[in-house]
């Protein structure tokens, strides 16, 4: 038996495979395909204080080994989450993490306080990296000063474990990771989508209603992996890596580079069972290589030999 568990402070995860916000609904959407309780955790859909309709259609474009989305945080708001979703999903035997979003710091703080009252939510993921909203979102995640302010404010408002999700659309990702650590984040997750664009050549117009959108999928894996490696080498808190993970081998790249855990995003659209298959593949790899604890390979490529 291999030990797959990891922890963020005193919060235990049974294994390092989580699902990424905005790509796994509230978990229920996948009930027919897998037992979500087998996952290390679920990060639910990006949530805001008020309901949001998101951006206009078309919101999606396929790109080489990836996709662009411009969903724009469509969600029914925190009231609906509390009353209709939470009551149904709180029985899942896994860590349910809420991804929080806002246009102003107050929004984030109010939202964090609301979530703070929900017993079965052990952690929040602070999303300062959504590229698909006009206000807030990535603006917080690409400016060191506002990043620090919003992290500080949310930290003060929440006793849950705080995971800060970074934007890759910056010159130096390590600066932002350090700020998060300094302001008391318990963990860092990265990367959110890269700002991209696609043009429909036949129609001679942008493919997305918003012109630009967020790029995800295997195309971004090399960039995500580089950033995770940089951040893992710069901070002491656990790092959760994501970006284009489709297979166990992809996940292992992140773990070998220094991630304590991974999130599976776009892969769940291609194969709704991707997360579980990846989990099984990681376990198999550890067995094959004769490791008994996943922690032995976290950051393995950085170990002096």
């Amino acid at each position: 038996m291999v030990n797959l568990g990891f922890s963020i402070g005193d919060l235990q995860f049974k294994n390092p495979v989580l699902t990424a916000s905005g790509t796994f609904g509230y978990g229920q959407e996948f009930d027919d395909f897998l037992d979500v309780s087998r996952l290390g955790g679920i990060v639910v859909k990006g949530t805001t204080l008020e309901p949001r309709e998101g951006n206009l259609y078309p919101r999606m474009a396929e790109t080489p080994s990836g996709m662009l989305n411009a969903v724009g945080l469509q969600n029914k708001g925190v009231d609906y989450f509390e009353n209709s979703i939470y009551t149904r999903i709180k029985s899942y035997n896994t860590n349910i993490i809420v991804n929080i979003n806002g246009s102003y710091i107050d929004d984030y703080v109010n939202l964090a306080s609301r979530i703070n009252k929900l017993d079965k939510i052990p952690a929040i993921e602070l999303n300062i990296s959504c590229p698909n909203v006009k206000k807030g979102g990535m603006a917080f995640g690409t400016n060191p000063r506002s990043a620090r302010e919003v992290i500080k404010a949310v930290r003060a408002a929440s006793t849950k474990k705080l995971i800060v999700k970074l934007s890759p659309n910056v010159t130096n990702i390590v600066d932002f990771a350090r700020i998060a650590e300094e302001e008391g984040a318990d963990s860092i997750s990265l990367i959110n989508t890269l700002l991209g664009m696609s043009v429909n050549v036949q129609k001679m117009k942008p493919a997305l209603s918003t012109i630009t959108g967020g790029l995800s999928g295997p195309a971004i894996k090399p960039i995500a992996l580089r950033m995770v490696w940089q951040v893992a080498n710069a901070v002491k808190i656990p790092v959760i890596g994501m970006g284009g993970i489709m297979t166990a081998s992809d996940a292992l790249e992140f773990i070998l580079a220094g991630a304590s855990a991974v999130q599976i995003g776009t892969a769940s659209f291609i194969d709704p069972q991707a997360s579980i298959k990846i989990l099984e593949g990681i376990e198999k790899f550890l067995n094959q290589k004769g490791f008994s604890d996943i922690r032995e390979i976290v950051g393995f490529i950085n170990h002096k030999s």
């Binding site: 609904g25 998101g54 474009a61 996709m67």
Partner: protein, 255 residues
């Protein structure tokens, strides 16, 4: 009815014309109880340009033989690759997905309207209605004679009216130009086809106070309600074409 992901075996690939082909599939397990209007998310393997699955309607079902068919139009790289499938190849599907057309009331006068690849979900619907005691009329529109597909199949279901854009068969023009619509007593219309056609049919139905259901073909990533990419603007706000649809009553849509 629960969704599944499964490798199915190709047992037929019939080319109808330059654009269309029909794939027949079978599985080791018993197939689910499909409802007309549902679709599958088809994985296109071996194509570097198709990262996402392709949504394709259930076209015909033969539960006795445990098989079903997909009618596919070559629209780009993914469908092009699918057109090369050979007997014995495996195809990975996530299915059955989506809602379905609602059944008409007894004796309701029903018209099915299809155009181009919109005929895909309608044959299954027609057969389903027939086996439930209805005899729908069917109005099909094509660009020209060469592009007409599945005509004989529809003849077995009900009366068939045709339009072609060049008049090479049936009446000349678009489906909404067909004379059968002028003095109609239809009470319910089912429609699938190009966006512009569905909108025109919806307008006509509204004017004539006819209940109308359309099957939308929005761009999809997941097909299971997880990505929120396939939304359509409705009177209830944004709904997902993949789980709240693909079939919508046009009174719900902001057309």
């Amino acid at each position: 009815m629960s969704k599944r992901i499964e490798d199915l075996k190709v047992i037929g690939n019939k080319r109808l014309n330059d654009d269309f082909f029909i794939i027949e599939l079978t599985g080791e397990q018993k197939l689910p109880d499909f409802k007309p209007g549902q679709f599958a998310q088809v994985r296109v393997d071996g194509s570097p340009d198709t990262f996402l699955r392709r949504p394709i309607s259930i076209h015909e079902v033969d539960l006795g033989r445990n098989t079903f068919k997909l009618l596919i139009q070559i629209a780009g790289k993914g469908t092009e690759t699918l057109s090369g499938l050979k007997n014995g190849d495996m195809l990975n599907l996530v299915y059955p997905l989506g809602n379905s057309f609602s059944l008409p009331a007894e004796n309701e006068k029903v018209l099915i309207v299809g155009g181009g690849c919109g005929v895909a979900p309608l044959l299954f619907l027609g057969k389903y209605l027939k086996s439930n005691g209805h005899t729908p009329d069917i109005l099909l529109g094509f660009r020209n004679m060469e592009r007409i597909i599945e005509y004989e199949q529809y003849l077995k279901i009900g009366k068939v009216f045709l339009t072609t854009e060049d008049g090479s068969m049936g009446e000349k023009g678009y489906v909404t130009d067909h004379s059968v619509l002028t003095n109609s007593t239809y009470e319910r219309v089912y429609c699938c086809g190009p966006d512009s056609m569905m909108r025109a049919v919806a307008v006509w139905c509204k004017k004539n106070n006819i209940n109308c259901e359309v099957s939308l073909e929005n761009l999809m990533a997941c097909g299971i309600g997880a990505c929120l990419c396939c939304i359509v603007d409705t009177v209830k706000g944004n709904l997902c074409t993949c789980i709240d649809g693909p079939v919508f009553n046009t009174t719900e849509l902001k057309w």
